[in-house]
Subunit: 333 residues, 2 copies
């Protein structure tokens, strides 16, 4: 919080635990309000149960802080499914949004070092309309959260040719140029799994099932390589010596891939901003999530996002009917 | 071919190019038959066009070699979509198979160093029946192509809890224990993207859309890290020196991740075996694909696979109706 002098925080949880922690840091005096909650949502609680019986938990309280206007953004390291369920229940969807999405950063060859992908797991499917909304919301986030004036958006598919993929992807592909015009972003067409870390695209749009598998596959692959690398530097005396010498290079690599630097999935499409930090995040990771929340609050992100969604929706009312995709070969007219 | 003394080959392509290449290697004398083809399928040809007009191409000829019993396995580095289309047209699906699949190896923490994933792109979707067949086919491949007596099979999902994921995944999950019993494999339940390189599972079952995205995401992530690593060892004089010293460790790592060692997607579910080598494969990669083809021919893989599919299908006729998944809580009875 030392980095964000204009930020205050409301901490939801067990006061007996939180109050002494806050008291230890003079810088937090007068800037943290502890709001006691008797109960917590655990990682094993099912979202449906939390929706029914979650009132009084710290998670519920944190979301209600945003709902009541006491806080601008909620940050949580908790159960993702429950957090999304409580967020939808309490904050409600933005007018015009059918499926909210979780957006997540991805290391890439971009100048900024990261791409954005959504949805990475709010829902297991997405129709063409949802994919178009993800593009609008992702572009708005890239502009306000990543500082990209004119983000490049791609739809994740199994090939870059127009005839490939599922029906909803082809429909979204045909209708996207018009949405891109309204949303002031560039549509780069279909992208493949191999393009995720590329400099071809800033925002990757996909359904939450595919996005979640891709995200976890990428993380798992990075972890595998990191483990194999450690093994490779442990074979014999000489390679151990080399590992010590190579430390600064390996640290440079690690920093570039460090997921903590961009810790925080953002829930998009609700009447309020929620940042989901990784459950296993350490202090660096949580600080990154809080920093992201602060930035989004500063630029009044949710108002900008709502305006973008509304203007896309108004334009959509004049749009060709969505079942007419086959004839929509020139959707920008 | 020096490694496979009992193997002969029929080479399909331009005789004017192939014959001199064969003549240069005495070991190939009397073991290679060149079958001239005037035309080739290019990487840009659409599968549907190749199905209509592809007769006379080298790809068509290679598949017909298997169809006519002249060859046991076909190996191609060509256009994957066209190869699958021609294979389906000429070889036809195995009795009982609805959707053929492409199976591909994946570096992992397994004792063997690799997992198998299918489908990685033959089709963009898969119903519960298809997923169950992929499990049967993948188990047979793991047994005959990877030497695993009792393969562990998992279904790729966005979480490991039973209530998560799409309807067809839940249905396949409920019916899988019975299929596992017939197919003599172990069903480990749902696995996530992060489990792909794990030692929890030997065969990962998924639809071709998700599998293709996961495969390319994994490859893209590995490539990104490898590029970043090269960058990290290029900053300043000292790290360049270290890179030279670290060479043997880095080579050890590279070998473990080398996709050429397991080059070759295998088409499963047809009346014949087709091995698809990566289009950009070098001599090492093509040799690996040919070695795989040889091994599958040696164990009479296609006959074993057909027998497994047939017995699963016979058992399936006594199975609970597939719409009755909700009540099938004990599908092994």
């Amino acid at each position: 919080m030392a980095l964000h002098p204009r930020m205050d925080a409301v901490l939801h949880g067990d006061e007996a635990v939180l109050a002494p922690l806050v008291a230890r840091h003079p810088i937090l005096n007068n800037r943290c309000t502890v709001r006691h909650a008797d109960r917590v949502v655990t990682m094993h609680d099912k979202p449906a149960q939390v929706m029914r019986h979650g009132a009084g938990t710290s998670m519920w309280g944190a979301i209600d802080s945003v709902k009541d206007g006491e806080a601008t953004v909620a940050v949580s390291c908790g159960n993702t499914g429950a957090l999304m369920a409580v967020s939808m229940l309490r904050l409600r969807k933005l007018p015009g949004v059918n499926r909210p999405a979780i957006a997540c950063m991805w290391p890439s060859r971009n100048p900024g070092g990261f791409n954005l992908m959504l949805d990475v797991g709010a829902d297991v499917k997405a129709e063409a309309d949802d994919l178009l909304q993800y593009a609008t919301m992702g572009a708005s986030y890239a502009r306000n959260g990543m500082g990209l004036a004119r983000p490049r958006i791609g739809i994740l598919n199994v090939g870059t040719e127009e005839h490939k993929g599922r029906a909803e992807l082809k429909e979204a592909h045909e209708r996207m140029p018009r949405v891109a015009e309204i949303g002031s972003f560039d549509y780069v067409g279909f992208v493949e799994g191999g393009d995720l870390p590329s400099n071809r695209v800033d925002v990757i749009v996909t359904d939450g099932f595919t996005g979640n598998v891709a995200l976890k596959t990428g993380e798992g692959t990075a972890k595998l390589i990191s483990d194999f690398m450690r093994d490779a530097f442990q074979v014999g005396f000489w390679s151990k010596v080399t590992a010590v010498l190579a430390m600064s290079s390996l640290k440079r690599l690690q920093k570039r891939m460090d997921p903590r630097r961009v810790n925080g999935g953002v829930f998009l499409g609700l009447n309020g901003t929620v940042v989901k930090s990784h459950g296993a995040a350490d202090a660096t990771g949580v600080a990154a999530a809080i920093g992201l929340a602060y930035q989004l609050a500063q630029v009044r992100f949710i108002e900008r996002l709502a305006a973008r969604v509304a203007s896309a929706e108004r334009a959509g009312q004049d749009d060709a009917p969505k079942t007419d995709a086959a004839t929509g070969s020139n959707p920008t007219e």
